[in-house]
Each structure stands twice: as structure tokens, then as C-alpha cells.
């Protein structure tokens, strides 16, 4: 409570005077209102660069944003950070009331979801590496669907022979799954610790890997419509960690 109270709206600013104040308190407060208005007015995350360009000279963006974030933390609408962008989003615990008519969430096939997870945790990652992890070739309608959704993008090229193209996730991906940054991916530290993200198989790779032709093999998963629930992908339940 005390913490929240510190950042109350309409609070006299004298309370913050012990902090390094670079701006006149009135200007500081104005800067806060501007940042709030800018982010609140947009449905898309707004970049810090952009916000900063609109603030009075001398305003401390970092302090302003973290103050606003704390201020909204307990409210029905929260201020969230997405990489170096900011956005207002309804509080997750209110999802039961705030149902819009159009359910905009994209349904992903099991294969697409798996590829998305691999890209997120292993990025930058090449297609060959994705296929190595999954043990099957990537079918059409997997990577392109993820790119179309705006969650996955071509990142660049690996500096190895052949210079293969690498894939990574986007800011929209973070926004979609409520992540501030990639390091917030669930369990990523444990996976790294267990060596499961290194891509380096302890021994050599004699294990058959999928042939490299581009045509789909018939055994590629056509589950697109299959219910994720049936596959246990929507019931996380007790199943924590590995």
C-alpha cells in the first residue's frame, strides 16, 4: 500500500523531493501526463524514443514510466513494457468480464506452436536447426503462418558456410504473449542451464535427420484443425517444468 501511495495521481509532488529532481515538479507532472496520454491513446505499443521526443526537455523517461507503471499496477488497466515500447492493456485477471465479440486470437496448429516455441527459445535459429530439433521437415503453412501473424521474422544470416537465413521473434510476439522481453520466456533460464538451448548435441549427429528436399513428406502433421485441447496443449495443469 505504502508503495502504491507514493505514486498516487494528484499527489502533491513534494513527497518525491528526496529523489534527484531535475525538473520543476509541475513540469515533471506534466511530463507524466503527456507520457500517459501518448501511450493511452494508442492501441499499439509506443516506443520510448517517441515518448521521449514528446516530453519536456530534461524529463527522466525511465523514472516517469516506472512511476506510471506502479500507479497503474493495481488498476483495471495496466501499463506494460514490451521491449523498449510501452502499452496499456487490461489487467489479465479481468479477462472474464472484458470479452470482446471478435475473438482475435489466432489458432495455431500444434506444429506451428512448436516451431514458434523453438524460434522463441533458440533464436536466432535456422530452419535446419528447427528441423533438427523437431525431427521433421517444416511444412508450408507453419513458418509462413507465423510470419503472417507477425510473430516471427527473418532476422539475418548466420555467419557460417552457406550463410543460412535465421529466424527470430518480433515485438508483436512479446505483446501477444505478455512478455516484457525474451528473457521472460517461461523456464528459459532452466532450459539454458540444462544445456537444452545450446543446440550442441553431446555426441555427433549420427541420428537420422530429415532429408533436405523441400517437398513435404507425407508424414508431416496435418493437425491444423485438431483440437489443441485434445492434445493437452490447453491444459497446463500440474505439468510444470520438465
Amino acid at each position: 500500500m505504502a508503495e502504491a501511495q507514493k505514486y498516487l495521481p494528484g499527489m502533491p509532488d513534494e513527497e518525491m523531493e528526496h529523489e534527484a529532481v531535475t525538473l520543476d515538479p509541475r513540469l515533471e507532472r506534466e511530463a507524466e501526463r503527456i507520457a500517459e496520454a501518448l501511450v493511452f491513446a494508442s492501441a499499439q505499443p509506443v516506443s520510448e524514443t517517441y515518448i521521449a521526443s514528446r516530453l519536456p526537455r530534461g524529463a527522466d523517461l525511465g523514472r516517469i514510466m516506472s512511476r506510471l507503471k506502479a500507479l497503474y499496477a493495481q488498476r483495471g488497466v495496466n501499463l506494460v513494457q514490451i521491449a523498449d515500447h510501452w502499452a496499456f492493456r487490461t489487467a489479465a485477471d479481468l479477462s472474464f468480464v472484458v470479452q470482446t465479440d471478435e475473438q482475435e486470437v489466432k489458432k495455431l496448429s500444434r506444429a506451428a506452436l512448436e516451431v514458434l516455441a523453438i524460434i522463441a527459445y533458440h533464436q536466432p535459429v535456422t530452419r535446419a536447426e528447427i528441423e533438427d530439433i523437431r525431427g521433421v521437415q517444416t511444412s508450408k503453412g507453419t513458418l509462413d503462418v507465423l510470419m503472417e501473424a507477425g510473430w516471427v521474422r527473418f532476422r539475418g544470416r548466420r555467419r557460417t558456410p552457406g550463410r543460412p537465413v535465421t529466424f527470430g521473434t518480433t515485438r508483436d510476439f512479446l505483446d501477444q504473449f505478455g512478455l516484457e522481453e525474451i528473457r521472460d520466456l517461461p523456464g528459459i533460464e532452466e532450459l539454458k542451464g540444462a544445456g537444452l538451448l545450446s543446440g550442441r548435441v553431446p555426441s555427433n549427429l549420427l541420428i537420422p535427420v530429415p532429408a533436405s528436399e523441400d517437398e513435404l513428406s507425407e508424414n508431416e502433421d496435418p493437425i491444423t484443425q485438431m483440437d489443441l485441447e485434445e492434445l493437452g496443449l490447453l491444459t497446463p495443469k500440474a505439468e510444470e517444468d520438465d
Binding site: 501518448l38 493511452f40 491513446a41 492501441a43 499499439q44 509506443v46 517517441y50 502499452a87 496499456f88 492493456r89 487490461t90 489487467a91 470482446t100 475473438q103 482475435e104 486470437v105 495455431l108 506444429a111 506452436l113 512448436e114 516455441a117 523453438i118 522463441a120 530439433i133 523437431r134 525431427g135 521433421v136 503472417e148 521474422r153 527473418f154 505478455g178 520466456l185 517461461p186 523456464g187 532450459l191 540444462a194 537444452l196 548435441v201 553431446p202 555426441s203 555427433n204 549420427l206 541420428i207 537420422p208 530429415p210 532429408a211 513428406s217 508424414n219 502433421d221 493437425i223 489443441l228 485434445e230 492434445l231 493437452g232 496443449l233 497446463p236 500440474a238 505439468e239 517444468d241 520438465d242
Partner: protein, 272 residues
């Protein structure tokens, strides 16, 4: 965790009793192996790779015995596992090259663990609070932030899809143009009709088609269409045809009712 995967096994059509096997539910050999490994009901780092190899091979044999066609990947994996099994069972020779059976087994275990870890990660990811399902943006945004100096918006994906589909479209158009080189029956008939005036004696079909064959690629279609057209014209009495034996040259000459100039003109006109 167990009920979850049992359920999945049922969905995937892996019923022991009924011997109903639906491999379409599996995403390749590694997926099948992971499934089998789970049925050992131990932590993946403690699975018996030997037992797993045996299970897999037995499974593949059973599937083949009921004559289900298997993708080559499954057979390659079976062969590899058979090899692995032999390496695990035979004592390591001093001069052996390559990895030991244990190394191969641990590599396999690693891959299974990694795949399982990614499956779990996918599950956790999809169950997070999703934008548009659990969490919502401002419904009535008051501005769209134009951060790019250009004032235009486009993603690399947009650019590449536009390019790929354009190039594909154009390439296909070119293929269609190529198809015009196929001789239709009426093409062939017209050409034969034109030639008939000069055919007092037997002439090989190949010989008088030569002048129409601009490229060797057209040879097959020209001969096929002319031959079919010539049969029709023989029936009408416009042509006579003769061949000494199978694969021998085909000879043509004017028939009892040759095409007169007026009919030819009509045919030319009809073809535009």
C-alpha cells in the same frame, strides 16, 4: 502428467488391443520415439535407450506386418536404432571408430529431452495471457503513432510475399505460353491438307513435317497430332497410309477424294 499423455495416446490411435495404427498422428520418427519413451514412465534422463530401440523396432515391424506403408524416415530410424542396439550389446572394440554405443544413446536421449522441453515450452507459451483473449488493448485508439519517417508501413513479410507471388505468377504465365506449341488436331489436319497437293507418291510422314518443326521439342507433339489427324483423313478417303511394320516409317499419299482448293480455303478461314 500421465493422464495427459495417455489421452494423447488414445487420440493418436495407438491402441494395443485393436492393432489400429495411425502414424499420421505422429510427426515423424522422433515424435514416435518420444511417445514410446514416455510410456517407460520414467524421467527422460533415465530411459533405457536399449529398451526404447527395441520398442521402436517392434512397433515398426508390427506396422509393416499389417502392410501399412511407412515413410522412409521411419525405416531409416529403425535401421539406425538396430545399429545402435548392436553397438550397445556388443563390447566396444579397441580399434572401433566413431562414437560408442553409449555416446550414441546419450545423443538420442538428449534429442528426446530437447524435443520434450520445446513441447512443454509451447504449452506454457500458449497458456499465457494472450492479447485479444485475456488482455485487451485500447478499444478506441485516438492516434496511430507514425514513428517511421517514411509515412509508409510495410513489413519484410509483405515485401517477400509480394515478390514471391509475383515471380511465381509470372513464371506460370510463361509456362502457359509454352503450351501453345502443342499441335492441336485441327492444326495437324490443316497442315496435312496443305501438303496433299504435292503428294503424288508415298512420302514419309516425318519427311514432310520437317519444315514445320521449328524446334526438336515440338517433334513429339507434331508427329502425334499429324498421325491422329491422318487416320481421320484416311477414313474420309482424303489420304492413303502405309507402314511396313512396327516402328517402321509411316508413308502418306493423296487418297481418292483429295481436299480441293475451296475446302482448304474454308479450313484456313475457320482457323483464322
Amino acid at each position: 502428467m500421465e493422464p495427459l499423455w495417455q489421452e494423447e495416446a488414445a487420440d493418436r490411435g495407438l491402441h494395443e488391443e485393436a492393432l489400429v495404427v495411425d502414424l499420421a498422428g505422429f510427426e515423424g520418427p522422433l515424435d514416435l520415439l518420444l511417445h514410446l519413451a514416455r510410456s517407460q514412465r520414467v524421467d527422460l534422463s533415465r530411459i533405457s535407450v536399449l529398451a526404447l530401440a527395441e520398442q521402436y523396432i517392434a512397433f515398426i515391424e508390427r506396422v509393416r506386418s499389417i502392410r501399412i506403408e511407412l515413410a522412409a524416415d521411419y525405416l531409416v530410424m529403425a535401421a539406425w536404432l538396430a545399429y545402435l542396439k548392436s553397438r550397445l550389446l556388443l563390447p566396444q572394440q579397441a580399434k572401433d571408430e566413431g562414437p560408442s554405443g553409449e555416446e550414441m544413446a546419450s545423443a538420442l536421449a538428449f534429442r528426446l529431452k530437447r524435443l520434450e522441453a520445446m513441447r512443454d515450452a509451447a504449452t506454457r507459451l500458449v497458456n499465457r495471457n494472450r492479447l485479444g483473449r485475456d488482455v485487451f488493448p485500447r478499444g478506441a485508439p485516438e492516434h496511430i503513432v507514425a514513428e517511421k519517417r517514411s509515412g509508409y508501413d510495410a513489413s519484410l513479410y509483405d515485401l517477400l510475399t509480394a515478390y514471391a507471388s509475383l515471380r511465381q505468377r509470372q513464371a506460370i504465365t510463361q509456362v502457359t505460353i509454352e503450351k501453345r506449341h502443342v499441335w492441336s488436331l485441327s492444326d495437324a489436319r490443316l497442315i496435312l491438307a496443305r501438303m496433299i497437293g504435292s503428294l503424288d507418291d508415298w512420302t514419309a510422314l516425318d519427311h514432310f513435317l520437317l519444315r514445320y518443326m521449328t524446334s526438336p521439342k515440338e517433334r513429339a507433339t507434331a508427329i502425334a497430332s499429324s498421325f491422329a489427324a491422318s487416320l481421320e483423313m484416311v477414313r474420309e478417303g482424303r489420304l492413303e497410309i502405309r507402314q511396313e511394320g512396327a516402328f517402321a516409317p509411316i508413308y502418306l499419299r493423296r487418297g481418292p477424294k483429295p481436299i480441293d482448293a475451296a475446302t482448304l480455303a474454308e479450313m484456313e478461314a475457320a482457323r483464322g
